[in-house]
Subunit: 271 residues, 2 copies
Amino acid sequence: MQQAIAILDSGVGGLTVVKEVMRQLPREKIIYFGDTARTPYGPRSSEEVRHFTEQIVDFLIQFNPKAIVIACNTATAAALDYISEKVSIPVIGVIHPGARAAISATKTGNIGVIGTLGTIGSGAYTAALQQLSPYIHVLSEACPALVPLVEKGQFRSDETTAVVDDSLRGMKSSSIDCLILGCTHYPFLKETIQEVMGEKVRLISSADETAREVSTILYDKGQLANSNESPVHQFFCSGDADIFQKIAKNWLGEHIRRTPVVWQVSRFSDT
Amino acid sequence: MQQAIAILDSGVGGLTVVKEVMRQLPREKIIYFGDTARTPYGPRSSEEVRHFTEQIVDFLIQFNPKAIVIACNTATAAALDYISEKVSIPVIGVIHPGARAAISATKTGNIGVIGTLGTIGSGAYTAALQQLSPYIHVLSEACPALVPLVEKGQFRSDETTAVVDDSLRGMKSSSIDCLILGCTHYPFLKETIQEVMGEKVRLISSADETAREVSTILYDKGQLANSNESPVHQFFCSGDADIFQKIAKNWLGEHIRRTPVVWQVSRFSDT
């Protein structure tokens, strides 16, 4: 049986990574877990985020996946190293792929990063960027008002434009030429963010870049799927399965044949 | 002592990969070998290219590198699998990184590839693209007139424009939205190629993308350099060291402090 790629997130944000994996690697089977009962992770302590991430990995590992993608910047910052040591398969976070893509794209060396309080507070992007190149200048800012818009499904509205405009005030007046969307929820708001920042700033989606690095790493290990049959994906969440299903169907529409079946895993709901 | 990344090519084309590794991974030490006495590889048989590549790898492996980059599409097509089995360190070719980047970038799924006779004749790009996604349409064409322009250092001229225009006639009249520069020499001609193809076609440089995947794979293995000292690179070629030095200095100028010292390795010159 084909081994799946397991993808986890604090909620629906990781579906941006799912969509790109489906597009770039359509032969691959995906098992997704969204911790919608406990979203958002951004304001939580890193100990708590690490504990939640470990619980989800323990659940996903039962399906014998060939790789685990932590499709959440907050969880990557808090738990990537810990989970990598715990399991024997590749564990891929979303921070380094975004950092590498930004370094590849920047012409001036001035890179902006936006993310949750947890991600920005951890300094993980700045560390990743400067580990790769000491010549990079990083401007980072937490934008805690953006995730709630996405979790409500409010991708385009006057309120969204107003909130994005207010959140990006500092970035707009800076000299960055690349802006890393350092939260997997932000690609849902990409059009508004691009309008607010203007065409000259290149947006780097950590979601797109992570899908590409999953491809690179599985290729390097000789583990890419080669079946011609359409894979059957599996979706799990800890909160309301109907709301999750609606957002998943809406976002992944063109890449899935029928409405995704979503299972609620209640054991996470009451912790 | 810091382990280097070894990069090899049939001539000077691989310097496009060197430049991107220097830009994206400025902490890394590079050892380069350009087989300028036997360039071009494009029209040679794959057996001969495999033999030459093996000779160069035997030379480079003495320096105990942490990875080998086959920065030549012809040699990647002919020898990547063979060399990967022969050595115990990661061997990274230029074909899959370009293929992955094109799949990430395309909106229509129609991708063009240009390369040498050897690369295009091998079908390696088409295989790599369709291995990743069965929904990709590939239009590929050999452009044997381009490498000689680069090896002569003729990057911008009326003759260059005329030759590029003639070579890309088929690509221009197609519906591709991405064009893979499937030869590491072609980034030297990037401006002319972009002018000829127009702004709507996105050029994918296998050189840039390979540098990024070197970063991904060394990170995955925990082998990225972390020193703050400027690395001292080493350059070797089989042909005239003065001509090589001139092109290397011209192309890498901003990334190196002084004129690179180039050693001619004569044992390859007379085979």
